[in-house]
């Protein structure tokens, strides 16, 4: 078993590094890039949902904030892409702090409702603040990224291969950060808040502070995912905040396995590819998603990741599906 592990890692590394050369179909490569975006979104979403047990419905709003911020900074203020990218994440983080400050004091149920309201409000703002966002039509012609790095000079990203490596790096950094966070003292505190908040507070944990941190970090990653997407599809519009994204994220996270990194990644990749091969109308697809979500919740709430953990008999059972205790 121990020899297998490094082999698997090396194999995965080779596949990931050489993906653009293995994959000949531009369409499939596009899907892979798309799944990369979803991995970043889903993993960051799961920080709040899976580890802290808070049902936030605001993630699509932060995604939209990141997308619009980056676009407007680059197109209106000539800000270099790298800076706009970072600021997109940063602004999403700040918005999360502002919204979270009152919202995270509420009961879990009110929090869910308020975050949903926030997402809908943002959507109304995108649509109606025409001078800023060009309204319901959105902003086309978003320039492709060019990374102005100090030593390497200006690296334009305008090929699928370029985008692939860019999102690959983002995915790796996201996974690394989240893994480091969850496995550290901080992750332990998150779990303690989820498992028994009163006890955690009695032990000196400021639950509110840690919730703010989780909310803000999640928003940051959603923001940079939004920025990447805007400069990839060269378009940004109110669709970025569609209710559809909430559905998608929930299915990916819950079916994938809330609280497990590999499960969520699996969920994200699976549900990027599955809808593309299901040639049906969007609404019918959503009915099926709803059914999948429902069946998963009732029969397999720990998701695929949880099932995998069970099967591998790892003692990390504690990381699985939300099992809060009030």
């Amino acid at each position: 078993m121990t020899i297998l592990r490094p082999l698997v890692f090396i194999g995965a590394a080779v596949v990931l590094a050489g993906m653009p050369y293995f994959v000949t179909s531009a369409y499939v490569l596009h899907l892979i890039i798309l799944s990369g975006i979803y991995i970043v979104l889903a993993l960051s979403y799961d920080i709040l949902v899976g580890y802290l047990g808070m049902l936030s419905l605001a993630h699509p709003a932060f995604y939209g904030v990141g997308a619009y911020t980056s676009t407007l900074l680059v197109m209106r203020l000539d800000v270099p892409f790298i800076l706009a990218f970072a600021l997109a994440g940063l602004l999403a983080l700040i918005v999360a702090l502002v919204v979270g400050y009152p919202a995270l004091r509420l009961s879990y149920h009110s929090f869910a409702i308020v975050t949903l309201a926030f997402t809908l409000i943002m959507r109304v703002v995108w649509i109606n603040w025409e001078s800023l966002t060009k309204g319901p039509m959105g902003i086309p012609g978003v320039p492709r990224p060019s990374l102005g790095l100090p030593f390497f000079g200006n690296i334009p990203i305008d090929t699928a291969t370029g985008y692939y490596y860019f999102i690959l790096i983002l995915v790796i950094l996201t996974c690394l950060f989240i893994y480091l966070m969850i496995d550290s003292r901080v992750g332990r505190v998150f779990l303690s808040i989820r498992e028994n908040e009163v006890l955690a507070e009695t032990l000196g944990v400021n639950a509110f502070k840690y919730r703010m941190i989780a909310f803000a970090i999640g928003a940051f990653f959603a923001g940079i995912a939004g920025s990447f997407t805007a400069h990839y599809v060269t378009f940004v519009g109110p669709e970025f905040t569609d209710f559809y994204y909430i559905t998608m994220l929930l299915v990916m996270v819950i079916l994938g396995g809330s609280g497990t990194i590999h499960g969520v990644i699996l969920g994200a990749v699976a549900f990027t590819f599955v809808p593309e091969y299901l040639r049906i109308t969007p609404e019918f697809r959503d009915v099926i998603y709803g059914l999948i979500l429902l069946l998963t919740i009732v029969f397999m709430p720990e998701g695929m990741g949880g099932k995998i953990n069970h099967l591998l008999e790892r003692r990390r059972l504690k990381w699985n599906a939300p099992a809060g205790n009030r």
Binding site: V186, V189, E195, V198, E201, T202, G204, K318, A323
Partner: protein
């Protein structure tokens, strides 16, 4: 100066007076017993003192500082720890992880440093694990240190909750019915350990119904009934106090 004191502490629940102008104190080094019939306000007193419940009137002071309106975690970090009537532990975490959580916040350490695992934080972790080992040894729970807390027996969980309260070397330890539903051998063990810890300098306030426990351990006993303090004094005095006897048997 008393370690913990309440001045005219009052707590109302929709018109029901759970605590009615209670004046109560614990001095450093004491083991104070808090007794009274069910519903007399003992756990409510603990909840107010630890910031779990908001206070309706009066003041609470810890080490001379007014903590009446402070939050639970703030008070905890000042040196108060407690156990609960119904055991509170983290069932899905291991015994060691439970212990580490009991000291982590007191140690400090910035969040970013924790994520990046700086040498400083790694040293804090080592110290925490060391302290956990000491306490696990103290109650002979060491073999179970990597087990999930949920898999422990009731008695073992109670022991775990007990030693968690000492991880951060608090000034004051509040125990809520530590002897409840525990077999006599374990009760004896617990009493011995409390005496030992008290000699090491820990101050205790204990809610208990087990009179032998209270009589033998406590330096002083405070009696509550219907939210009011009705008696206070040495265990022997309380035992013979007419009001106390009436409260337990007459009411």
């Amino acid at each position: 100066m008393p370690l913990l004191e309440t001045v005219d502490l009052t707590k109302n629940f929709f018109g029901l007076k759970a605590l009615d102008r209670v004046n109560f104190h614990v001095d450093r080094g004491e083991i104070v017993g808090l007794i009274g019939p069910n519903g007399s306000g003992k756990t409510t007193l603990f909840n107010c003192a630890t910031g779990v419940l908001p206070v309706s009137g009066g003041r609470i002071r810890f080490k001379g500082e007014d903590i009446t309106h402070q939050k639970t975690h703030e008070i905890a970090l000042k040196g108060v720890s407690r156990t609960f009537q119904i055991i509170r532990i983290f069932p899905k975490l291991t015994v060691t992880e439970n212990m580490l959580l009991a000291i982590q916040q007191h140690q400090g350490g910035r969040i970013l440093s924790s994520i990046l695992r700086t040498p400083y934080v790694r040293r804090l972790e080592r110290q925490a694990r060391q302290r956990a080992s000491e306490l696990l040894d103290f109650v002979a729970l060491t073999p179970l240190r990597d087990n999930l807390a949920a898999h422990l027996s009731y008695g073992q969980q109670k022991l775990l909750e007990f030693i968690m309260a000492f991880m951060a070397k608090p000034d004051l330890v509040l125990l809520d019915e530590p002897a409840a539903a525990v077999n006599p051998v374990m009760i004896r063990n617990m009493m011995d350990r409390i005496i030992q810890l008290n000699q090491e300098g820990y101050t205790f306030c204990i809610i208990e119904h087990n009179m032998d426990f209270v009589m033998e351990l406590c330096h002083r006993v405070v009696v509550l009934n219907y939210g009011e303090k009705i008696a206070e004094g040495k265990p022997q005095e309380i035992r013979n106090n007419r009001d106390v006897i009436e409260a337990y048997f007459g009411g």
